[in-house]
């Protein structure tokens, strides 16, 4: 092989993306798609179809189109295991039943949070909301506690 061909092969090796990078690039480029925007700000009326769509229980997704994706395992975060135990222990001791958890975390939460908040994040928000709604804790008490806990981790200046 000539020297110039060797040089081309070496530079080609550098230019060609590695497989994980290629996958990332494909998915990023593929996600740039035009979307139909219906601006929504204090609507006057909705069609029957739109009413049904807006009030559809979010969790009922079976049959909706979606694309093949790379199914990966996700290693569990420490807070995720604790969230699962928190929610189940609350259920065990009678604060709520699992069906209420599902309604709160999978339906009441609204579409934006349903798709945007991590799975166990929704469990957690559902538990928080239940504790407040069912008058176990006051919302101000919860807010204060959150700030107090966060302060334990704030970097000292």
């Amino acid at each position: 092989m000539s020297k110039s061909m060797l040089a081309i092969n070496r530079s080609w090796g550098k230019v060609m993306a590695s497989r994980p990078e290629l996958r990332e690039q494909h998915e990023l480029i593929g996600s740039i798609q035009p979307a139909l925007h219906y601006p929504q700000n204090w609507t006057y009326a909705t069609s029957h179809s739109m009413f049904k769509a807006y009030t559809h229980p979010l969790h009922d997704v079976g049959g909706q189109p979606d694309v093949p994706v790379y199914y990966e395992e996700k290693e569990e975060e420490d807070w995720e295991l604790r969230t699962y135990v928190l929610c189940e222990t609350l259920g065990w001791k009678g604060a709520w039943n699992a069906e209420e958890r599902r309604r709160r975390a999978d339906v009441d939460i609204g579409y934006t949070q349903y798709l945007g908040i991590p799975y166990y994040g929704r469990w957690l928000l559902a538990a928080a909301r239940m504790l407040v709604d069912n008058k176990h804790i006051k919302v101000y008490e919860l807010q204060q506690k959150i700030d107090e806990v966060r302060a334990r981790y704030v970097k000292q200046q």
Partner: protein
């Protein structure tokens, strides 16, 4: 999960019965899938009697009902489905099922 309701559990169907999934308002909560509404199926199994999810989720003392597995042909669920042997099963409480008119079966 327990209920103080003392009703005799509603149980209108047996294995093999042909049923249709009702298509009722689903405002606020339902565990009956959009894809199954109005679709005909066959009772495949009787499971357990319990509160219905729509009641349990709001902590109301509702009635205890028989829950069934209903089997559907995939080609009855999805217009484009290509494989005639394939099926889908899911679970419904008694109140969401109606018997098929035998003359139309």
């Amino acid at each position: 999960m327990s209920s103080s309701s003392k009703n005799t559990p509603v149980c209108r169907f047996k294995v093999g019965d042909r049923v249709r999934i009702k298509d009722q308002s689903w405002l606020f909560y339902s565990r009956v899938q959009l894809y199954a509404r109005g679709v005909e199926g066959t009772i495949a199994r009787l499971n357990y009697t319990d509160l219905v999810a729509e009641d349990e989720t709001f902590n109301v003392e509702g009635e205890i009902e028989q829950h069934y597995i209903v089997q559907f042909r995939q080609q009855d669920l999805w217009p484009e489905y290509a494989f005639p042997n394939d099926t889908l099963q899911s679970e419904y409480p008694d109140r969401w099922l109606e018997p098929l008119n035998n003359s139309q079966a």
